[in-house]
Symmetry: D2
Subunit: 388 residues, 4 copies
């Protein structure tokens, strides 16, 4: 048992391994959030945030976790009783649906098998049928963290455009932003929901709404009650680098550092790195003779890979053995995937040898748990890494 | 100009000076929030939190700033259109009132002069008049951060009890918790609202609701829409040391460290230290020949002192000179006190010599700004500190 | 190229990966080294150090790198012109010999092939021949960092004892202490030389002399000039927890934390972990069809493994490719091993998956550098790790 | 008793308050000291060091405390039996004298009263008498940390020049470098000895030798035994950014950060700040009716002020009360000043309000210890600070 020496492998699909630079940044002394030094910090990072979302519009930063930014996207744009469409792509899409209903919206939940992304065709049909334009918004999870499936947002956008439908497009990029190519403006997204603890390499505690002009206009008439999440006072204060309430200053220090790191590596390189690590991981899974949960190769996630075990195995037992023997945390199967699936996070501050260590641990853990695997998995992954 | 050497004096009434121990704690690597190590952390700190609130009941910790916990107190206990009583004790009481109205509540706002706390007599009159028990809640700010006035919660409680009125008592302890004596259970408070960045010595980003049984019962029928702030799933998950969404893990590390520090010093000693520093500060203010904003000595705040300048002076000019010349941040006058008042925070991780440096800087800054002051202020403060 | 994301793999045989706990400890504010808080720290850690050296005698801590502790061992016990025996076990043994000569000692350097440890038989012969007891000391490097060969100190001791020779036994444990079983008292060592940046998991900057009673006695007559390295004033001051000059306070904070970590894991477990990782590494090397430099299996090092390449290869090219492509630092071939050898450090704060990542990187790097290797290396290592 | 809240006041004349930026820097992961990243770091900081010493020549950085750099200055330039002149300016000058004697040098120790700096006239006399040029070196402590007296190095230099004497000039700037104006080249100093934990704002553990061409030449013939301290291999390795042994990497990270901070403030501003704080401190001492130990106003130290108490008082009792009641560390009286003197450090990372807090604590502590003081001390200091 070597669990207590060396560095823990945090290979859940978020929170991700926080870089030392970011940890040091958040450990700087807190400053006056109404003083000139804070304003300089805030104006700088609010600008640096925009390219990460692929937007020229403002991005609101909440001192709250990602779930809060989900709520913000809804209460700022919608009114009690509004109809929205959502897609059953997995556990988090289901949770967001639940939230919408709790807040008083009516959700048309397009069924899914948790192995595919949001279906543009199904959306097109529903929008075509909505001749009265009662549907106020379409809610999509870009990268479903429970399944490792990445929905094709441009095709969703195209479906809305082709139907010439005025519905807002709300997209959750919780586990894709900063890891998987994403373009708020180009793809015509109205509200992008994101958080700090995945591709942005921060601890949890910050979340985001990127907002289109159309969403800003919708906010002026939306009637769901709101105060903390209200965009208006935040955007007003942000213009001078301030907040209507006390912001999470130390996490903002970390955010600035993380944004600098993304700039240094270059976003296209960041995305390529994630794609490459995902390809190596799938090579391992397939090499082991196991199944990747994601059923459509156009929708493979660059951020995580969910591995589906046969019904004779308990995925949580595999995870437990790996945690105890190899000090590595993997993601559990959520909702109806409980016990069937484990998830390997390969996003954020990560590199080839961390992935090699991760996949070595998974392979050994599978073997120790009695899952029949072909040891060709690991070499297959290394072949991908070596080939560059 | 020595502004760029040495340590900044952060003497706003929060965020306060974060101890190195806490900064180091929050810089530890983020862990899996669904793993056994996290559960151990959470169960431990949820227990250690209770005595700080003076409660045996659960305390909900939000990954959000204090304003969020205000909203949580309202949306968990009240329904659209409910009547509540609030007191115009200052800027933050006014903001909380605004929030209540934005969320669809009807607020009876007892007028005040921003120099006194919540008036138990006015409350008694209003409750007596409310024979139909339409008033659902009484909202009080314990320590008004904009004025340095501490409301007498036990007398507020007594007024409610004497009226035999069922209204909930909601108390904001944003700038008092961990600095000024406070007792959720003994004083019959139903929801206590608090945050991390004041007496708890943390960076901003966490906030709290301590909850009475009566408030828990009210939550079962409250109809304001809620999801993120909903106590129920949090309390359910907390029982096993977990959260329904990703908690702000690194700030929780800091919280545990801060709670240990409060235990080490002992809460009664913590409160006595704040009272003593407040007394020394008032001795300085009076010695300078200036006026303390708080007009009732029973309501002097242990956490901050607001200093009222004559109308011929600009308090923000004083603050600006002190920031530029002495690298110290003081609190500005908020709302209708703008320009008339500056606020000296003497709460959190603080000691005698930090206070002596603070008051020295204020005295020199007043002199440099042309405010007529008697130099007897500082010696008067030192006399208090020396006397133990 | 993923060099700039994720954590660097620092797999040289020291400095080793410093645990976050230790890094945080050294970042605490410096305190008065003549005050009571420092004395408490020093007395505590001087006690905790003893079991790590396997001694009940005092251990001197220098605010200096390990080379300084080499010098200290010599100048405290020897006089100009003294004869000493040393063994050509590798680069560092040669450097220590050079130092002894520069300081005015006469060194009888037993020749070696850099693939074996110090030879007890050769020592026995020399001591037997020294009927006049002119040899004042025997200098041995316990674990030769340049070769990955661990000398058998108990057999060296036995040779001295059997010759009934009064020579002092001076042992360099620079890269073994805290990683490989070592017993200052039981093995009759007179001065043990150690440093902070290997098994002790600290940054470089501290070094150590553990001292037998016999060495203390020798110090009273030794005539090499000394001041900074002089044991006497240090030992005198240490009794009350102080130093005759300013100690490296912040590194001492780190030392205390590192000693706590070793206690938590348990020294026997620490040694077993290193043995196991060394075995897995050798399994990989042999699996690749390459040669381990250490030629005697009784002398395999638990701390590092030096890999010998055929003359047709350039070991530094392999290292360079691994650094550039996989962001891992390996040890270079030193002295006459330059270009022929690379060294894999597997000591200090380390675990199974870090080793798996390390060996994956070595295997890929060898392949990329055109070294013919059998890919069976990595699976062979995993088999060792999996077998526990 | 508020000792356990707030920040400790570390007002000994070194180690000084380490800035958070520097503490964070030293907590970065240790890197390979033989890799390209280290070389870049070393070359950069070796260059940035030069202007701080006022030299264009190389500066050697030792992974050792300042006492080691004293030894280095001697063993690199002198031979057994060499005659040197030193001045009894205080405790540290006496310790350096002791070291020289222990190393086998013959010291002509010019007597002093511990209230004046090195006497240029006495030196001139001795050099004039040394017609045979037997004196190999002149050793001077620039700022005597035990007394707060700053010797006038240019006048010492002038005395040597006027005597046309070839002796080397060795100067200890342990507590002046980075605080008090100093010019290695302009003042014709041959070896400047310095350390990390005073004006350089680092923790202890690094020390320095700045070296003139004349000293480099002397080193080629100096015959004191040396190995660890030998300049030659260090200077050779430094040319490529490396070290002949493992350097104290993490402290070097801190050194780079500290050098950046000095550059940002500007050395002339740094010196002016120290002069101003020293003036304010003396104003306080004189205001209290107490005596500054330094007897010549041309020699007042910018780094610390030693306060001389009447024989009826115990200076250590004052210090103890201040530590217990106000959590501030002051310097004790050393050597023959024990009990008569306490020392206030006002150097390093320091500002006006820290000084005001410091002097407030001293004033209160004196009063609590029963020392008769005029409370006019503190206002006199503030008048200096306010006047800018």
């Amino acid at each position: 048992m070597t669990a207590h020496s060396g560095r823990h492998f945090l290979q859940i699909p978020g929170p991700t391994n926080v870089p030392d630079r970011v940890l040091h940044a958040i450990a700087q002394p807190t400053i006056d959030h109404r003083g000139p030094e804070f304003a300089e910090l805030a104006l700088d990072l609010l600008n640096r945030l925009k390219p990460v979302f692929g937007t020229g519009n403002p991005v609101v930063v909440y001192p709250a976790s990602g779930t809060g930014a989900w709520e913000a996207a809804l209460v700022n744009t919608l009114s009690p009783g509004d109809r929205v469409i959502a897609f059953e792509t997995g556990h988090f899409a289901s949770l967001w649906r639940d939230m919408a209903e709790r807040l008083g919206l009516t959700v048309d939940f397009v069924p899914g098998d948790w192995r595919h992304g949001a279906d543009p065709t199904a959306l097109a049909e529903r929008l075509a049928a909505d001749t009265g334009h009662e549907i106020a918004a379409v809610m999509v999870v870009h990268n479903e963290t429970s399944t490792g499936v990445t929905s094709r947002i441009p095709e969703i956008r195209a479906a809305i455009d082709e139907a010439d439908h005025p519905a807002l497009l709300l997209v959750d990029t919780i586990s894709s932003l900063g890891s998987i190519d994403y373009r708020h403006d180009d793809w015509g997204v109205d509200v992008t929901v994101a958080c700090s603890q995945k591709g942005l390499m921060l601890p949890p505690g910050l979340s985001f709404n990127a907002i289109s002009d159309k969403a800003l206009a919708a906010a002026t008439t939306a009637r769901l009650p709101k105060s903390f999440w209200d965009w208006t006072p935040i955007l007003d204060n942000n213009e001078r680098g301030f907040y209507p309430y006390t912001p999470a200053t130390n996490l903002l220090y970390g955010l600035r550092e993380a944004l600098l790191m993304l700039e240094e590596e270059g976003l296209p390189n960041v995305f390529a790195r994630h794609r490459r690590h995902a390809a190596a991981t799938r090579a391992a899974v397939h090499g082991w003779g196991l199944e990747v949960l994601c059923a459509d190769e156009r929708e493979y996630s660059g951020a995580l890979t969910a591995v589906l075990l046969g019904t004779e195995y308990d995925a949580d037992k595999v995870r437990r053995i790996i945690l105890e023997r190899f000090d590595m945390s993997l993601g559990t199967g959520l909702g109806k995937l409980a016990g069937r699936v484990f998830r390997i996070g390969h996003l954020g501050h990560f590199n080839d040898l961390m992935l090699a260590g991760t996949l070595s641990g998974v392979q050994m853990g599978l073997e120790l748990a009695g899952v029949t695997v072909d040891p060709a998995g690991l070499p297959a992954a290394l072949a991908v890494l070596r080939a560059e």
